[in-house]
Amino acid sequence: MSSELLLRFAWAVGIIFLGVSAYWLANQFLLSRAKNNVSSLLHPLPNKPVIVYFTTPDCAPCKTVQRPALEKLTKLLGEKLHVVEIDATERPDLAKTWGVMSVPTTFLLNARGEARYVNNGVARVEKLMEQIQTL
């Protein structure tokens, strides 16, 4: 009985792992797409890490969590970080070319303008800081 339970648990973990891998691959695809669009958005490159933040005026989690997180991060890092905020309702073309399906979405670019991370949904300050440190 317990061995069967363990086997089923292992199957569940395996299937979830496959799903997470597929999600990771989809994010990698988004990042590779973003790489082709950086030059049109940032010209010239600021030569420092950049967060491209897609939002909309009525997005509640953007107001309550994402924007305060980015403000805190900007205070902490000062001139070492550049944040580009894009209103997806004003720039649906950019949202489309960057493959943004929901807001908030944040892309993290390194100093060479290469998109390294994408966060679909709210990304808290700790997570963003961790990502910036590994850019």
Binding site: E4, L5, R8, F9, W11, A12, I15, I16, G19, Y23, A26, T56, P57, D58, C59, A60, P61, C62, T64, A88, T89, P92, A95, M101, S102, V103, N120, G121
Partner: protein, 164 residues
């Protein structure tokens, strides 16, 4: 695009529903309890009849009042989400019947399809059932009359402030 009126749809209620569907079905698979899958199908069926997310009552009565989940109200069409729930219900009902008839492979495959699609919706913001609804509307199938909100990919979560 035809003119239509969008309604306020709380996506947090939808997300709660999806998370419960995912959790309970995975639990049903691990414990090998088709009755749990049948229970999820039953709740989704009730939700489909009442035109509300099946497990949305947990969000409304517990999660939202205690502030554990914040409302995420967007201008959207509720019909595609209802259709999506009906599709999920049908899959789980078929899965439950298959499991009770001893066809474990078919039954659990159907259950995992529901888990995968609910996960895509909950974590990726893409509702496959809604996309199917909008495709059927495009094909002119009767009673599938709604169009996706302006600037929204069919099936994708609408951007806040979206218009008809």
């Amino acid at each position: 695009m035809t003119s239509q009126t969008l309604q306020k749809v709380d996506h947090s209620a939808l997300k709660t529903n999806q998370l419960f569907i995912i959790f309970l079905n995975i639990l049903a698979f691990i414990l090998n309890q088709p009755i749990l899958t049948a229970f999820v199908a039953f709740v989704m069926g009730i939700g489909a009849v009442l035109k509300t997310p099946g497990f949305g009552f947990i969000y409304k009565s517990i999660l939202k009042p205690r502030g554990w989940m914040k409302p995420d109200v967007l201008n959207d069409n509720p019909e595609p989400h209802r259709f999506s729930q009906i599709i999920g219900f049908a899959f789980l009902l078929a899965g439950s019947i298959a499991l009770f008839l001893g066809s474990a492979g078919l039954g659990w495959t159907l259950v995992w399809i529901v888990i995968a699609l609910a996960s895509l919706n909950a974590f990726g913001g893409f509702c496959v059932g809604c996309a199917v609804y909008y495709w059927l509307a495009r094909l002119g199938v009767p009673s599938f009359g709604k169009q996706p909100p302006a600037g929204t990919t069919p099936g994708a979560k609408p951007k806040a402030g979206a218009t008809a």
